[in-house]
């Protein structure tokens, strides 16, 4: 095939492609997308603010409650138990009771 024939085919193909145009409501679609994404952006911003605020409230609430705790002054009692006295180990070692 000759060069000018190839050039002609290329030009014809490009001319055909150039005739294609976007849908009539293209601009409306883009504007709708822009407005929707703007609303979504605002929504997501508010949700981030809400989460941050609730976390701050929860943490500061915990700190407040924790710092308001007062230890009772009641006396502390201990019970000392000698295990050796409670369990009669001889009983388990006694072969007669088997």
């Amino acid at each position: 095939m000759k060069q000018h024939e190839i050039d002609m085919i290329i030009d014809e193909f490009i001319d055909l492609e150039k005739k294609k145009i976007p849908l009539p409501f293209f601009a409306t679609g883009v504007m709708a997308q822009i407005e929707t994404s703007d609303i979504k952006k605002n929504h997501s911003l508010w949700s981030v603010v809400a989460v941050a605020a609730s976390l701050t409230i929860a943490i500061s609430g915990g700190v407040l409650i924790g710092s308001s705790y007062r230890q009772s002054n009641s006396e502390i009692s201990y019970t000392v138990i000698n295990d050796h006295q409670i369990e009669n180990m001889q009983f388990f070692n006694d072969s007669d009771s088997e």
């Binding site: 060069q3 085919i9 145009i21 976007p22 883009v30 504007m31």
Partner: protein, 181 residues
């Protein structure tokens, strides 16, 4: 109304005025996208993304170049990114088709379709290196001069001239090779 006035209005909060920008440039941006993807649906998707991206970054438009140059730059980048992501998807589809060969057997007409001139031209254009393809599309689809293309591509006029020259030669070679098969 001048582009700069519309942009000022939009930045001041009159978002509805952005429609004027879309209506003014939609055909140009769509044509650039068509040059890259050769498919109306994909070109519309790209053009839509270009205008949304431009709107979101409108405040960063400094006005050093014309607004159309700035939009063309976004359109070229968006189209190249679109093709890259499509290529990645196609790799997965190819892998998928290998495992599902029986369900997607070739039709007898498919060989003829592949030899179709339009398909051949699309393939030839797609095979061009990105820089050559960009310069060629801006020159042929948008009929921009070499100086304008050089500004869009951040290159020199001479370099653009070379790119277009090589693109044409590449296309001729590819097409004559295929026609001789």
């Amino acid at each position: 109304m001048l582009d700069s006035e519309i942009i000022k209005n939009v930045l001041e909060g009159n978002i509805a005025d952005y429609r004027l920008i879309i209506e003014k440039f939609q055909n140009q941006i769509f044509r650039v996208a068509i040059g890259f993807v050769h498919n109306k649906e994909d070109a519309e998707e790209i053009a839509q993304d270009v205008f949304v991206k431009a709107f979101r970054n409108l405040s960063s438009f400094s006005g050093k170049s014309s607004f159309s140059t700035w939009l063309y730059r976004i359109a070229v980048n968006q189209s190249i990114n679109f093709l890259r992501s499509k290529k990645r998807k196609n790799v997965w589809q190819t892998i998928d088709s290998i495992f599902n060969l029986s369900s997607k057997e070739k039709k007898p007409d498919e060989g003829l379709e592949l030899k179709d001139t339009a398909k051949m031209l699309k393939d030839a254009l797609d095979n061009l290196p990105v820089n050559q393809r960009t310069a060629f599309i801006l020159s042929k689809y948008e009929e921009l001069n070499q100086k304008q293309i050089a500004i869009i591509m951040n290159s020199s006029k001479g370099a653009v001239e070379q790119l277009i020259f090589r693109a044409k030669n590449n296309l001729r070679k590819q097409l004559s090779d295929r026609k001789n098969l």
